[in-house]
């Protein structure tokens, strides 16, 4: 997707929290188009599949970039059900891929298992922590990014009612939820937040119904962290904006990617981006460069530019509010504000 912030992120994500090998990654990807030609990278999706318009797809984009820019061989396998996680990872491990990614929280046990049984293999996982010497764990501080979109929502609501639509009530989603709430309250303590968890990541009809209930209740902005269920939220908002008067306009805050690119900026207020593509790209690149953070946990947050708002936000969010956002961002990075999180 958006390449506008490439430089920025490349640096950011490439400086993992406590990595002593930071110097190695400093050599930028400028030339060396074939530096990765002897490398084989692979990823295994969870049941969402590689085109989930969410983190699986984002991860695959990261790998594709690796192929394009460094000539690496890349491949993926989609898991049809949970039993496939391990067998798919093992497929790549047996084919002696240099690095195999498990994409998504759900892959934790499978990555752990494969890593223990194949100490020579190198693996990495997104959104989960696997303690093994040959696994790089990459997690995101979703709560920090969500705090910032919470600030936007808190400042921009006209009805003083804001909604949140979650997929399933699990720790990752809870991080979005709590961060968002904290952000809203920080700027607008009186705002009321209505939350609905739909219990599914793949049911647009439930997302639509949930959004309808929240908008009907008077909210004008909904932040969704619900994967495909969120499509329904967007459709409900679009629908309302088509018929409603200008002063009744409603917004959606997207998730994971810049969703205004897909659903248009007439409904997408902004998005809570989670740069899985960047993470996959840069950590894989570190492998090529010989600085793979094996055995390390890398938490990517605001300071790494791995979460946050896309540039396109300026379209709908006034500059003064964006300034406010920047202000809070710095406060979080500096540690002045601690955003609540969930385990």
């Amino acid at each position: 997707a958006c390449g506008s912030k490439n430089d920025n992120n490349n640096n950011g994500a490439a400086s993992p929290s406590a990595s002593p090998t930071a110097s190695a990654s400093a050599s930028p990807s400028a030339s060396a188009d074939t530096s990765g030609k002897d490398f084989k990278f692979a990823m295994v999706t969870d049941v969402g599949g590689v085109n989930d318009k969410s983190f699986n797809q984002s991860a695959w984009e990261g790998l594709q970039r690796l192929e394009k820019e460094h000539g690496a061989t890349v491949d993926y396998l989609e898991s049809k059900e949970a039993t496939n996680y391990l067998t798919n990872i093992n497929q790549f491990v047996r084919e002696k891929y240099n690095l195999t990614w498990g994409i998504g929280f759900l892959m934790g046990d499978a990555v752990k298992d494969a890593a223990t049984k194949n100490p020579d293999a190198q693996l990495a996982i997104i959104d989960n922590v696997v303690e093994a010497p040959n696994v790089a764990s990459i997690t995101f501080a979703e709560n920090e990014g969500s705090f910032l979109v919470g600030v936007v929502a808190g400042l921009m609501t006209k009805t003083n009612k804001i909604g949140f639509v979650g997929g399933i009530d699990i720790p990752v989603i809870k991080r979005f939820d709590l961060g968002f709430e904290a952000g809203v309250k920080a700027v607008n303590p009186n705002a009321e937040i209505n939350k609905i968890y739909t219990g599914a990541f793949d049911k647009a009809d439930l997302g639509k119904a949930a959004a309808a209930s929240i908008y009907n209740d008077g909210a004008d902005i909904i932040f969704h962290a619900a994967g495909g269920t969120g499509n329904g939220v967007f459709n409900e908002a679009k629908e309302r904006n088509k018929s409603a008067a200008a002063d009744k306009k409603v917004w959606v805050i997207g998730v994971d990617k810049d969703q205004s690119l897909e659903f248009g900026d007439d409904v997408t207020l902004t998005s809570m981006m989670k740069r899985v593509d960047e993470a996959v790209y840069s950590v894989s690149k570190q492998m090529i460069d010989g600085s793979f953070p094996a055995g390390k946990i890398t938490t990517l947050g605001l300071k790494d530019n791995a979460v946050g708002l896309p540039d396109t936000s300026s379209k709908n969010v006034p500059a003064d509010i964006l300034a406010k956002v920047e202000e809070y961002k710095q406060k979080i990075i500096s540690g002045e504000i601690t955003v609540p999180t969930a385990q």
Binding site: L77, E78, E81, T83, G108, A200, D202
Partner: protein, 358 residues
């Protein structure tokens, strides 16, 4: 031996074989139309399954739950009930086993059997609810089992979250080692494939269902109820009790699928967003096997092999694995409509004789 040869040259044996062949051909044609290489695709599929011990072992693991859910659906069919609820019974069985596996601590010779028994019972009870509602209130089991699938999903998520959750993992704690049913030596022999005792239980279940249905008095009773409930009543058989009993057994079989998935494969239960599809696949397996226990076993082997090999197909030949669903669907189609094959066979046979006449 002669009998065996006869059995295989009979119409009833030839038809399924031709059906499988035709199904594969349908898949091949579609791949070919889509610009893929069907030969390479099928080679990759079978290589994936048979070329190394690990994948072979994992294929067995993939087949196991299908045998159970297939038996579950077939058993219900035989007793005149359409159990679309294997899915929910599977989840409930899994939950029962996880609960025992995580929360209790006992020596292995008690713990594992207890986890298996409890999970199986929970699955059975879940099936029994639909049976009871049909027997006592006349509510069609198709509706109730569909609804109970969803209820089971959310209920088990609740149980996992409330009683079994490992903080921050989105899943239950790992079940005690003593409750696990893996087979270490075989697993090592098969390059760490997750093989487990469930496989043998599945074979036992095939024998059990066969013997129960066709050799025991209770099975006889249930078949009478399934085939002609009025006659059953006239013969003094308690039809309502039969329905409840049948749904219990059917649910227990589906429950066992879940039990062994958790005790033999996953070792924990995740908070699930959706159903696994094993229950629905069980319907297909039952139908592939003509609702006959032995047929179900063969159907599960076919189904499991094709599904597991599908990953090899997309790895080796870049063919979208969805194609395998079309292949399986076509095989069932040709098995179910033997008329098409017989019709084709007749045309095929008749041609030469016409030639002679000319």
């Amino acid at each position: 031996m002669n009998k065996l040869i006869k059995a295989f040259t009979k119409d009833s044996a030839v038809v399924p074989l031709i059906a499988i062949l035709l199904g594969l051909i349908v898949g091949a044609v579609i791949m070919w139309l889509g610009g893929y290489d069907p030969i390479l695709a099928y080679r990759s599929l079978f290589e994936k399954v048979f070329s190394n011990p690990y994948d072979f072992g994992e294929t067995l693991t993939a087949i196991t739950p299908l045998v159970f859910t297939g038996l579950s659906v077939a058993f219900a069919f035989r007793t005149g009930l359409f159990n679309i609820g294997a899915e929910g019974q599977y989840i409930m069985g899994m939950t029962g086993a996880t609960f025992v596996g995580v929360n209790l601590h006992m020596p292995w010779y008690i713990h594992a059997p207890m986890a298996i028994v409890v999970g199986t019972l929970v699955g059975g009870i879940w099936g029994m609810i639909a049976g009871y509602l049909k027997a006592a209130r006349g509510v069609n089991e198709v509706i109730t089992t569909i609804m109970l699938n969803w209820i089971a999903l959310h209920l088990s998520n609740y149980v996992v979250r409330r009683f079994l959750l490992e903080e921050g993992k989105g899943r239950s704690y790992i079940v005690d080692e003593n409750a696990q049913v893996t087979i270490g030596w075989l697993s090592r022999l098969l390059d760490d494939a997750r093989v487990h005792w469930g496989m043998f239980f599945a074979l036992l279940a095939v024998i059990f269902v066969y013997a129960f249905l066709f050799r025991t008095k209770q099975g006889y009773e249930l078949r009478v109820v399934g085939s002609n409930a009025d006659a059953a009543q006239y013969a003094g058989i308690n039809v309502n009790a039969g329905i409840v009993k049948a749904m219990f057994i059917s649910g227990a079989l589906a429950g066992m699928a879940g039990v062994f998935q958790v005790l033999g494969v996953f070792m924990n239960q995740a908070i699930a967003a959706g159903t696994t599809g094993h229950g629905f696949d069980g319907i297909a397996v039952a139908l592939l096997g003509g609702n006959n226990p032995i047929g179900v076993l063969l159907g599960a082997i076919l189904f499991g092999t094709l599904s597991y090999g599908a990953a090899g197909m997309s790895f080796g030949a870049d063919v979208p694995p969805e194609i395998i669903r079309i292949v399986i669907g076509s095989v069932i189609f040709f098995v179910a409509a033997p008329g098409i094959i017989r019709w084709g066979m007749k045309k095929f046979k008749r041609k030469p004789s016409k030639g002679e006449a000319v």
